[in-house]
């Protein structure tokens, strides 16, 4: 394991997983607040169990796919996933769409669960557990995808997994310690950074899959990160200026 080769995979997996873990924690905390820790915990554990099962089933299959095909598939998925994140982060940074607000999501989720409680008290434990399970599975699948995407193409699954595990452990420890949503995490800045990194990885792996002889090999990713970052910052400035000119 060499730091220079593994650092991009570890940091992309860590930052991406941090965002997803914060989002999952918000829902689990909302469930625990409205009902109790029992359905919230059971739903989260069931979600984690399903994720482990998915990784155990899909993990060995990855080795069977030819490397160049794997790189192409992962590269395309990374481009779709990363550029979608980056586009939203640019629009949020430019003020065109509202920032992701964990405190508001927590309040909305809590209100929805309370409304369900009034209508159907008997099924509430089940509904609360399902909400926790769904949050864990959906956000967890994004973590699994990020780890596979940044790690599988270049044999860096272990460093990427370590980055993701560190992020999830950090969020779990801090979140369970403070017992409220981590609203002060600069989520859009993180999403901006992860969107830039995943898009850069996407271009690199898609190119590898198409047989492109990138100059500098893995180091080309650093250049792509810089290019995506400069372009994204320029896009934010462009949209902000256009907005300012449009408002009299």
């Amino acid at each position: 394991m060499t730091w220079t080769a593994d650092a991009p995979a570890i940091s992309a997996a860590f930052l991406g997983s941090l965002v997803e873990a914060v989002e999952a924690l918000t829902i689990v905390l909302a469930v625990a607040t409205v009902r109790s820790w029992r359905p919230a915990g059971l739903g989260a554990v069931a979600g984690l169990a399903l994720l482990v099962l998915i990784v155990l089933v899909l993990g060995p299959l990855i080795d069977r796919v030819p490397l160049q095909v794997l790189q192409l598939i992962i590269g395309i998925l990374l481009l779709l996933f990363g550029m979608r994140w980056l586009r939203k982060a640019i629009l949020r940074a430019a003020g065109l769409i509202p920032l992701h607000d964990e405190a508001m999501i927590f309040a909305t989720e809590t209100a929805e669960l309370r409304d369900k409680a009034r209508r159907n008290e008997a099924k509430l434990d089940w509904l609360a557990g399902l909400a926790s399970f769904k949050a864990m599975v959906l956000e967890g699948l994004e973590v699994v995808f990020i780890v596979i995407a940044v790690g599988a193409g270049g044999g860096q699954l272990i460093p990427a997994s370590l980055g993701a595990l560190a992020a999830c452990a950090l969020v779990a420890i801090v979140g369970l310690g403070v017992h409220r949503p981590l609203a002060r995490v600069p989520e859009n800045t993180l999403k901006f950074a992860v969107g830039v990194m995943l898009s850069a990885f996407g271009v690199f792996w898609t190119g590898e899959g198409l047989g492109v002889p990138w100059p500098g090999e893995d180091l080309a990713i650093v250049a792509f990160v810089a290019l995506f970052l400069v372009t994204a910052l320029a896009a934010v400035a462009l949209v902000q200026r256009a907005n300012a000119e449009a408002v009299p």
Partner: protein
């Protein structure tokens, strides 16, 4: 059943949020793929891929801003 459908829908949304962005990215990849079959192992494919993706991103953001 509804929960499963919702999960499947949200999974699809992981990759496709703005349909035009997804289609444009796939178009750039397809163009780069055709180029790579015509000129194998060429850096030109990489340049098309990289500049195409950056161009798609800027064009999509600009178009979203106009909307």
């Amino acid at each position: 059943m509804n929960a499963l459908i919702n999960i499947a829908r949200e999974l699809a949304n992981l990759f496709v949020d703005d349909g035009w962005l997804a289609l444009a990215i796939l178009g750039v990849v397809a163009f780069a793929g055709i180029l790579s079959t015509l000129v194998p192992s060429s850096l030109a494919t990489g340049v098309v891929l990289l500049l195409g993706c950056l161009g798609v991103l800027v064009a999509n953001v600009a178009s979203s801003a106009r909307r």
